[in-house]
């Protein structure tokens, strides 16, 4: 992220309330993750310790320090989704994308395929419980998902069975 873009983002926050999370959230939304250089620039510009920013980014699950793939697939792990098969949906996605469960050091579930096309993540609840189980891809919600309907959905994002 270049300096001017960051300055623009910062300038939109005129109140201290919600400022840091708001700015970090915009960086996350723009870049798909929070790049280290953006974090360091922000620290210098706002005179906030880097350790504080690093603490925020690693505490809140919305932020990621790792770049993501072209398409981000998020499986909702809310209660309604859980009782209606979210675990099976997640397993099917891992299988379709050729992703294996990795041991995580930070407690965040985010795995990217080797070709960098898809990133698989989980969410605690989208609040779209009526159409459980739910999967979100690049901001689009899909309801009543089953392992059988996944290939068709993924097909919209350039996925082909290999």
């Amino acid at each position: 992220m270049d300096e001017k873009t960051l300055d623009d983002v910062i300038s939109r926050y005129d109140s201290p309330s919600g400022r840091l999370l708001g700015i970090l959230g915009e960086i996350q939304n723009r870049e798909g993750y929070v790049p280290r250089d953006a974090l360091e620039m922000l620290s210098a510009k706002l005179d906030v310790r880097l350790s504080q920013l690093y603490g925020l980014v690693t505490f809140y699950s919305f932020f990621s320090l790792k770049p993501v793939g072209d398409h981000v697939i998020t499986v909702c792990m809310g209660t309604a989704c859980h009782v209606r098969g979210a675990v099976e949906v997640l397993a099917a996605l891992e299988q379709l994308l050729g992703i294996e469960d990795e041991a995580t050091q930070d407690g965040k579930f985010s795995v990217t395929t080797e070709d960098n096309r898809f990133t698989l993540e989980i969410a605690r609840c989208f609040g779209a419980c009526s159409m459980a189980p739910v999967v979100e891809i690049d901001g689009n919600l899909y309801g009543y998902v089953t392992p059988e309907t996944l290939p068709g959905i993924l097909g919209n994002y350039g996925w082909r069975e290999s």
């Binding site: 310790r49 603490g55 930070d106 407690g107």
Partner: protein, 286 residues
């Protein structure tokens, strides 16, 4: 409890009587009960309490039973303020039961810490039912219990903000950003001093202080202009000297405390022998 009651309004503190395990003791009104109880010799274990910092309430070991209007409840003594007639018990069967489980959790979390083992053993807990955390790469040597004292001292007292909590929940650790050397660190070592489990490794060698637990950061030590000994981190001495009023005489600023004292003493003796008086802080060019 209002702030008036806990004596934050600036009025002189009243003395009150509190009852610890049936024994009457004096305490300042509003005083932290843990502090009063420790002064009275009560055996209350604790890991995250430090008098110079705000109450934190994280280690949960100092939970005591409070009797209020005939009803009892369990609270942490480090967040409880003394009021007239306050009655606490530190060893009810309930307190012991829960405290023992907490000790077991600590034994599993910091399996390498002798401090924890000894503390738990003092309260009769020598083994844990829970799976021990094994992390061979842990820069804190499997001894950190996340009491937060190092983080709070670094941020709230030293103002350096070099370390902080990283991640959350069971993944929480203390570290520098990206677990690398952090230039915000002034090498004061307060973190290691305050750590109850001696988990933080710092080493002085070759004119540098090496922060082994904090990404291997190195802080140059100031060298004494007389004896040549490395005596304190340069950044820390510079920051401290900058705050002194009146300022320290230039030729004393670069000396270690021992040589500084020696030089002042030598001068005093010389001046006294000449029959005059001088003051070592007055700026004087030699």
């Amino acid at each position: 409890m209002t702030h008036e009651e806990i004596g934050l309004s600036g009025t002189p503190k009243k003395s009150v009587t509190i009852v610890i395990d049936g024994r009457k003791c004096r305490a300042d009104e509003g005083e932290i009960v843990l502090s009063a109880a420790l002064r009275e010799g009560a055996a209350i274990p604790h890991l995250c309490y430090e008098a110079s910092l705000d109450p934190y309430g994280a280690c949960r070991l100092c939970m005591v039973e409070v009797c209020h209007n005939g009803k009892t409840s369990m609270v942490t003594a480090c967040t409880l303020h003394a009021t007239e007639g306050l009655e606490i018990r530190t060893d009810t069967p309930e307190i012991v039961k829960y405290r023992n489980v907490l000790f077991e959790l600590y034994l599993a979390e910091a399996p390498k810490s002798d401090v924890i083992k000894e503390m738990a053993a003092r309260y009769g807990v020598t083994r844990t039912r829970f799976l021990k955390k094994i992390d061979t790469d842990d820069p804190l040597g499997g001894s950190c219990v996340l009491c937060g004292l190092c983080v709070r001292v670094c941020n709230e007292i030293m103002g350096a903000g070099a370390i902080g909590f990283v991640n959350r929940g069971p993944y929480t650790v203390v570290g520098t950003p990206f677990f690398e050397a952090n230039t915000d660190c002034i090498g004061c070592g307060a973190c290691a001093n305050v750590c109850p489990t001696h988990a933080i490794r710092i080493e002085d060698r070759d004119g540098e202080r090496v922060m082994h637990s904090w990404g291997g950061g190195r802080v140059r030590l100031a060298q004494c202009g007389v004896c040549g000994k490395y005596y304190a981190p340069g950044a820390l001495t510079a920051a401290t000297l900058a705050r002194l009023l009146p300022p320290l005489r230039d030729d004393l600023a670069g000396l270690c405390p021992a040589c500084r004292a020696k030089r002042i003493a030598d001068e005093e003796i010389r001046v006294n022998m000449r029959g005059g008086a001088d003051h070592h802080v007055r700026p004087r060019r030699s």
